[in-house]
Point group: C3
Chain length 138, copies 3
């Protein structure tokens, strides 16, 4: 694959993954992670395996829904390093917006995210995600 | 065309379409819609045809200008489904920022947008756009 | 190169350039500008040459760090015009988010940016950047 084709595939992968999350589909989101994936979004707390990721995200989605807001994730400045068509490292900025039913919107903390994506059985999976929040003491 | 080439073309189409809108060019914006296009941005209110879309958007642009702010649209997480090079469905998140002359900026409500794009006479046109605002009661 | 391949290269160029800036690496940021580049981010004030750009950005980065916030730049609606593989003009919207250590985030003024990129010695460089802030009186 050319770099542009692989980049396109990765962009589509993220668009689908994050539309799952933002529509509240924790299982659909977790299904884009490899069975043995590692997910770190709180420093020092490693969530290991697709089932635990699904459970963690389900709690997260529930909190958003209780706030009666729609949260959306935005990615930007995605640096893309393909070791091969089957192993890709990415590093990107992420931020969330949260829109209330009265139409007002606010931002969540930005973060820098590092992912490892792998191709297995002909499709991409997130095998590792580390979220470095900008809102934590440095 | 490869998926990457078509995706690139669609991204350029949106960049030009939305730079028209954000610079206040309602006619230029409407000219990216097919003659018989359908535009829904208020639930249940169908705006049909390029001329009516231009009129609707002109009112919208006027409101923004009266507020003495610059509004910009941001798209993200664009899922892209090409039935052929000539018929493409997209689904993406959108949000607006509004910057006042004193340099302060705020967000508008986010939304999920569904488009149908078609190729006619060698270029792309929006033939259908449905905006689902996250700021409306659910 | 196809348009999609060149567009991919430009996206990667910007992702690396702006991750430098947002991590506070003024020298790394300036190193993506040509030796003789022109940078205008205040109307009428032309910053000329890589060394001066680095100095200007270093002051800017210091202000952000003193505010104990993490600033991130977001680009959108990038219109891309390649005169050749070696000379590309872009026009895009930009906005910054600023996240404090308590996790609250706010937006800076949006802007419209016009760049000229050139290829020299096998890689891209910004040879001209003009930032039109939406937060200035019009």
């Amino acid at each position: 694959m050319t770099g542009a084709e692989l980049h396109f595939e990765v962009q589509q992968f993220y668009a689908r993954q994050m539309q799952c999350l933002d529509s509240g589909d924790a299982v659909g989101f977790a299904d884009t992670f490899a069975d043995d994936a590692v997910f770190v979004h709180v420093p020092g707390e490693v969530v290991r395996g697709r089932a635990r990721i699904a459970a963690e995200i389900a709690r997260n989605v529930e909190r958003v829904q209780q706030a009666k807001a729609v949260r959306r994730h935005w990615f930007g400045m995605l640096v893309f390093e393909a070791e091969s068509d089957d192993l890709i490292r990415t590093r990107y900025a992420a931020i969330t917006s949260s829109t209330s039913m009265d139409g007002t919107a606010s931002l969540g903390a930005s973060s820098l995210v590092e992912d490892v994506l792998v191709r297995r059985d002909g499709r991409l999976w997130t095998t590792s995600r580390t979220v470095h929040s900008d809102g934590a003491p440095r």
